[in-house]
């Protein structure tokens, strides 16, 4: 069955190529932004791939000065004229992300005195934007630590309370079960922004305002409910006979839970922990309301986007730092999550 004629094959190929194009091209440009120097940011048309080197044209003047020309897409333009090595060094660092001592630059350029105007190519310092991000956003390193801790707290609270609720919902029959089920759905749907403001007042009363525990307590609100939903559907799937067999052989309920049920439910827990992690890791608005000095990395990057109109490439570098742990975490538990996704192969 399912023989395709040539036209159908062509249409499918076109659709899938368009999909790949739409996903990959923006990401390549984003990567290019992450490594772009200041002059490259105003370059048009934009390069698809990040450039590793920068080429400038140097014209020596009679009074010992050097005039630097740079081509940002529409021919060489004069950028700076100087004979001060410190100025040169700063200019190359800030504009081209090239970190070479000014004396070395002067030495190179002096060769142009004999040959006339010449082009010089230097390799860019690729991590320049990342270093700049940490240098400009002074609290970014503590923020990274805060993000990790807040995420761990969120996973801990959501998983311990949520899986307990999920287990009870799956294993017991009781009168209020339906109501609790619906309440969990409502809690999950409730806009978190809505409870952030009263939550701030509450946390101040508890002395938990501007703490990571306070943040995690808010992030856990939707995630406990979500974990309960995810795990209860898995716990139902784990046969009760298996648990009963274990108890017949002398294990008590707790041992059975720890040795039989929990390992079998591991995919559900892994998936839930991923959602908990992503909530805490990516949130900006709650962190904005609930923290003052203990900011998280996502918030710091969000603020960097808002304040810097020119240096958005530094914010881009910051957001790459934000993506990496999320990718690593997702990759580690991918196996279990794909089990949850009904074994979608990828």
């Amino acid at each position: 069955m399912d023989r395709l004629n040539i036209i159908q094959k062509a249409v499918i190929s076109i659709i899938l190529s368009a999909m790949v194009f739409i996903v990959v091209v923006p990401l390549l440009f984003f990567l290019s932004t992450t490594f772009a120097s200041d002059v490259e940011m105003s370059m048009f048309p934009k390069p698809l791939l990040p450039r590793m080197t920068v080429t400038v044209k140097v014209v020596p003047h009679d009074d010992g000065q050097y005039e630097i020309f740079y081509d940002s897409g529409d021919g060489y333009r004069s950028i700076i004229t100087t004979k001060n090595p410190v100025k040169l060094e700063n200019h190359f660092r800030r504009q081209y992300s090239v970190t070479i001592p000014g004396e070395k630059l002067m030495e190179d350029f002096s060769r142009a005195r004999e040959t006339g105007p010449a082009e010089f190519t230097y390799s860019k310092s690729l991590l320049y934007n990342f270093r700049q991000f940490f240098a400009i956003v002074t609290n970014s390193l503590p923020a990274l630590k805060n993000s990790i801790i807040a995420s761990l707290y969120t996973i801990l609270i959501s998983l311990s309370l949520g899986s307990l609720a999920g287990y009870v919902m799956a294993r017991y029959d009781f009168r209020l079960k339906n109501i609790i089920n619906v309440s969990l759905l409502i809690v999950r749907m409730f806009p978190v922004v809505g409870i952030s403001i009263p939550m701030a007042i509450l946390l101040i009363r508890f002395g938990l305002f501007d703490t990571l525990i306070g943040l995690a307590l808010l992030y856990s609100v939707p995630n406990i409910a979500l974990t309960a939903w995810i795990t209860s559907s898995i716990f139902i799937g784990i046969s009760k006979e298996l648990e009963e067999a274990s108890m017949v052989f002398g294990a008590n309920r707790f041992q059975t839970f720890m040795r039989i049920t929990l390992p079998l439910a591991f995919p559900a827990l892994a998936a839930s922990s991923m959602y908990a992690f992503l909530t805490a890791w990516n949130d900006t608005i709650s962190a904005l309301i609930l923290t003052d000095r203990n900011q998280t990395l996502a918030l710091v990057v969000y603020k960097a986007i808002g304040t810097t109109t020119s240096g958005i490439q530094y914010a881009a570098a910051g957001s790459v730092i934000l993506i990496l742990p999320a990718l690593v975490f997702t990759f580690i538990i991918r196996k279990y999550v794909s089990q949850m996704w009904g074994n979608v192969e990828f």
Partner: protein, 312 residues
């Protein structure tokens, strides 16, 4: 990025037995076990929600009022626009994302060389954090951005377009497109899971009896996918009503006003004022009521019953 948990709502197998004649101790056992969760939600969810509702129905001096804060909200800047935008966003984005996700899922479900790799590529946007998505599109939408680079390269436009100047419905449309780029993969993966769990013999039987491809799609594939479609549409709808972050990070406050964007505006930009706090509370109350209404209407319309927790 909002990852969709709807696929977990597909009921897993397993039989739930009701034990006859349970003792008293056993009857209170589930409540006892749920006690920590109850306490947690009483303190960290119910208390903030109740104090939020109290804020909605009291004026700044603490006296009860039924409509004052709603009047404030109705007269607040860009309120009407934000309601219209949110409705347009939810309707258009959900339909568009579903159409694309379903098409991609059906195509990627075919067994051909490279299907796995393409599925992986299609899922990449899920892993990109919201701030990165915002920067990606912000650097694209400026006049010297990469979108104009691409458009000029393929000769689609002659002069660069200044996308960031978009206003009104065009701004909403931009946010819809960005949201679609980000969210479609997570919808697709749910549908793909549903398709891969489908039995092949059904399709083959229909094919043997002479059904065409379109007929197989509408009469077999879609009905089997229905449960996963219904739950994931619901979650998508709920998330769409609460859109805000991407609009603020790409366009800034007030360019494409949405309901939750307004809440963030009153909390983030003009905090401290008595009225702005009242408006923020009233807005989030209203948003929640809308979300609940939409959910109930949607579930009624699709005749769907929650199936998690063993009730069927």
């Amino acid at each position: 990025m909002d990852i969709h948990p709807s696929h977990f709502f597909i009921p897993k197998g397993g039989i739930h037995l009701r034990e006859p004649g349970v003792s008293n101790a056993k009857r209170i056992m589930p409540y006892l076990l749920l006690l920590p969760v109850f306490i947690y939600y009483a303190v960290f969810w119910l208390a903030p929600v109740v104090s939020g509702i109290i804020e909605v129905f009291t004026d700044s001096s603490g006296r009860f009022t039924l409509f004052d804060n709603f009047d404030l909200m109705l007269q607040s800047d860009q309120f009407r626009q934000s309601v219209l935008n949110t409705a347009a966003f939810a309707a258009i984005s959900v339909v568009l994302q579903y159409f694309l996700a379903l098409m991609l899922a059906v195509l990627l479900n075919r067994k051909f060389k490279g299907a796995k790799l393409l599925t992986f590529v299609a899922m990449i946007p899920m892993a990109i954090t919201p701030t990165a998505v915002a920067i990606l599109w912000k650097t694209g939408l400026v006049k010297e951005g990469w979108i104009n680079t691409v458009l000029l390269f393929f000769n689609i436009v002659e002069k660069p377009i200044v996308f960031l100047n978009a206003e009104g419905f065009m701004a909403v449309l931009l946010i819809i497109l960005i949201d679609t780029w980000t969210v479609t993969p997570s919808v697709m993966i749910i549908l793909l899971a549903g398709l891969q769990g489908m039995q092949k013999d059904l399709k083959e039987a229909a094919y043997t009896f002479g059904a065409g491809k379109w007929r197989i799609f509408t009469d077999i594939t879609l009905p089997i996918l229905k449960p996963s479609i219904i739950t994931s549409v619901l979650l998508r709808l709920i998330a769409a009503i609460q859109v805000w972050a991407i609009a603020v990070m790409v366009l800034g406050y007030g360019k494409a006003p949405f309901l939750v964007e307004r809440i963030a505006f009153y909390v983030d930009v003009v905090p401290g004022l008595g009225t702005s706090e009242k408006i923020a509370f009233t807005l989030s109350f209203t948003t929640t009521v809308i979300v609940l209404l939409v959910t109930v209407l949607y579930l009624k319309a699709s005749k769907y019953k929650t199936r998690v927790g063993g009730n069927r």
